[in-house]
């Protein structure tokens, strides 16, 4: 065959190297990411009456409930800061993680209709999800800042903005990265082993209880602390709290560990996702 000397721009083969993530191709589709993000934001709230107000309502009710159950009834520690600030700081970042994670773990099933007809790098879909969820996160963040401002200006609550606040963008990227990594691992596995789907729902709830969302790391008994610290989410939430409220148990090593953990998860996720994306249409 003479085809050896020709410069084919596209070669489709049954199997590809596991490390060939086609990052360049994903980059060339960056405009599609933006359009997907726009679609997600516009389409969801186009015909609801309250629109983005829903972004506020959900966390308000959650925080009221947490404050009542964990604060007033169970009397759990909030590291000495007002309950609403404590719970909102936890649920805002956690909410971003769980929304991203749940959505990305359904990548293949949710997008089967599009994926079945057109090719584009499949990673575009979960990446867009992680970015478009930032919008909801941003709205809730504004609410969180308003709450802090209220407590700082009108009460004598012991709140403090520390230099850890500068790490905020990094913390969001880490949270998004982790959600993306775990999400695509599960999305890859659920295309073939459907049973895992049942796990995702209660898995998220369980994960919340082993993350410092409704309690601070400082309140965890020493004998269990290693377990909570093993969870890569813990340093992120604690660093976020330390930055904007002045309380939190975290140091640089914890964050480096968390970053390394997330990188490994992302790498594994990309590998699995890449394997599945080429033939998942046959099994869906």
């Amino acid at each position: 065959m003479i085809s050896e000397q020709e410069n084919w721009s596209l070669v489709i083969e049954p199997r590809e190297k596991w490390w060939n993530f086609r990052l360049k191709e994903i980059w060339s589709y960056r405009e599609l990411v933006l359009i997907f993000v726009r679609r997600d934001i516009v389409a969801v709230y186009k015909q609801t009456i309250l629109g983005p107000l829903w972004f506020f309502l959900a966390p308000i009710f959650t925080v009221v409930a947490y404050n009542f159950v964990f604060g007033s009834i169970a009397k759990m520690s909030t590291d000495g800061i007002p309950g609403p600030v404590f719970y909102l700081s936890g649920t805002t970042l956690w909410g971003y993680f769980s929304t991203c994670f749940t959505a990305t773990s359904n990548t293949f099933t949710d997008n089967a209709a599009i994926f079945g007809k057109v090719y584009f790098p499949r990673m575009i879909a979960p990446i867009s999800t992680v970015i478009s969820t930032l919008f909801k996160f941003g709205v809730q963040l504004i609410m969180f800042f308003c709450l802090i401002a209220y407590y700082m200006l009108f009460t004598d609550a012991n709140l403090e903005i520390t230099k850890w606040a500068w790490l905020f963008p990094l913390l969001v990227v880490m949270m998004g990265g982790l959600a993306l990594g775990v999400g695509i691992i599960l999305s890859a596995l659920t295309t073939k082993y459907r049973d895992l789907k049942n796990f995702i729902g209660f898995g998220v709830t369980l994960l919340m209880y082993v993350s410092p969302v409704i309690y601070p790391v400082s309140a965890v008994p020493d004998s269990y602390k290693w377990f909570i610290k093993f969870n890569p989410i813990s340093p992120i939430i604690e660093a976020f709290r330390l930055g904007f409220t002045g309380v939190g148990t975290v140091d640089a090593i914890d964050l480096v560990y968390s970053g390394a953990f997330i990188s490994v998860i992302l790498l594994i996720g990309m590998m699995l996702f890449h394997r599945v994306e080429r033939t998942f249409m046959d099994t869906v």
Binding site: E6, A43, I114, V118
Partner: protein
């Protein structure tokens, strides 16, 4: 560098039938273990030919098996075949929706597919927003879409509705808009699958015109999949005929279509009628054979020579045949009487009766004969002796209508056209 733009080598695709789920983990592990040791996956050795109607023994089928072909730059390649022949699987592999089981596809340039237009359209978004969304999914740049927006809206003919959410569109408008985006993609290789199934005649014409522009005007390559032989015949220079996951013919479009149509209808010359004894109780005249001497398919532009051979066991002074032509719906189209002959016992007489060309429309027909003596007494009638099918002559029919031509007859009419210039 040759001008080959797509090269497909030994392409195969295996599917698993039935329940996917139970046992897949075990098979994955076994398959993986074989590959780790450098052996062939045992499950790839399994697999039946993909025939829908027969029950196979294996859970695995080959939707495509060892397909090889090449496409040259600027060619419009037709792909035809019955349902389940592997056309859609081939397109899915080419458009990278799924990966092949074995074999490779090599291509130069962007492949865009109209596998199903309107992919990713979101009902809540406006027409314009969906054009951006759909265009980007198909691989267009935002600036490219902005530049072509007016052209796209104009082509779709939905200007008034462009800022309305597409859920308010009629289905026709929806498809027009979707196709308009796809038509302005300008990929190096365009895959078109059954676009003619949608839209009205005006839109069909527009769509076909666009495809012709793309191939002839811009030198792009088009892979055209259709069940509409007329469209295939008028657009494709070369055609692949798919059958049970293989390419059973690759070449001249007219021949490919003949073979495709011939797959269902038995060849006319195979229809030989021989009398059985019960048919002729008095056994005075026997029909030895009745056939149509045509090599291949009978097209609307062909004349149909019917040959009837009779053996006489009794003398007739005046004998003639009446031919009756019916459509398959048993509509009696015509009766024709031959000249009279006289015959002696033992005579073998051959009647050659020709149904002229450009008389019958595409349809199935059957013939009956009456044996008549003394111009008045019909002493025997045959029962649907000979059936035959007339198919469209796609090479002749040049009207830009891609449906079946209506009517029972397909006669050519005498026409003179006189034009009266406008007097001032």
């Amino acid at each position: 560098m040759s001008n080959t733009i797509i090269s497909v080598e030994n392409l195969s695709k295996q599917y698993r039938l039935g329940m996917v789920g139970s046992g897949t983990l075990r098979e994955d592990v076994v398959g993986w273990w074989y590959r780790v040791r450098g052996k062939e996956d045992p499950y790839l050795k399994l697999g039946d030919k993909n025939t829908r109607d027969t029950k196979g023994s294996s859970d695995y089928v080959w939707a495509l098996k060892d397909v090889n072909f090449e496409v040259k730059q600027g060619e419009v390649l037709g792909i035809i075949g019955k349902n389940g022949a592997g056309k859609s699987t081939l397109l899915k592999l080419l458009s990278r929706v799924t990966a092949p089981t074995t074999g490779t596809i090599k291509a130069k340039g962007r492949i865009a597919s109209l596998l199903e237009v309107g992919t990713g359209f979101h009902p809540e978004l406006t027409g314009k927003e969906n054009v951006y969304l759909n265009g980007a999914i198909m691989g267009m740049r935002k600036s490219e879409i902005t530049r072509k927006m007016d052209e796209i809206i104009d082509f779709a003919g939905v200007e008034r509705y462009i800022d309305t959410p597409v859920k308010r569109y009629s289905s026709g408008m929806y498809v027009r808009l979707a196709f308009a985006v796809a038509a302005h993609l300008e990929p190096e290789i365009l895959i078109v699958d059954e676009v003619l199934a949608v839209g009205d005649a005006e839109f069909q014409k527009k769509a076909i015109g666009k495809i012709e522009d793309v191939s002839a005007g811009q030198g792009r390559t088009v892979l055209f999949v259709s069940h509409n032989m007329k469209a295939v015949s008028s657009m494709c220079s070369r055609t692949l005929l798919m059958q049970d996951g293989n390419v059973s013919f690759n070449g001249n479009t007219d021949e490919a279509i003949d073979r495709y149509l011939g797959m269902d209808s038995p060849k006319a010359d195979a229809l030989v009628y021989s009398s059985s004894s019960t048919d002729f109780a008095d056994s005075t005249v026997r029909m030895a054979s009745c056939k149509i001497n045509v090599d291949g398919l009978i097209k609307t532009s062909d004349s149909i020579p019917v040959e009837v051979k009779l053996i006489f066991d009794k003398a007739y002074k005046e004998f003639h045949l009446n031919l009756h032509l019916f459509t398959k719906e048993e509509l009696h189209l015509l009766q024709y009487s031959t000249d009279t002959i006289s015959a002696e016992p033992g005579d073998e007489v051959v009647f050659n009766i020709t149904i002229p060309e450009n008389l019958l429309n595409e349809n199935q027909y059957f013939l009956n004969f009456n044996f008549v003596e003394n111009r008045s007494h019909c002493f025997h009638s045959t029962k649907s002796v000979l059936r035959f099918t007339v198919v469209e002559d796609y090479a002749q029919n040049t009207i830009a209508w891609y449906g079946k031509t209506p009517g029972l007859l397909r006669s050519k009419l005498n026409t003179t056209i006189k034009k009266q210039p406008k007097s001032n």
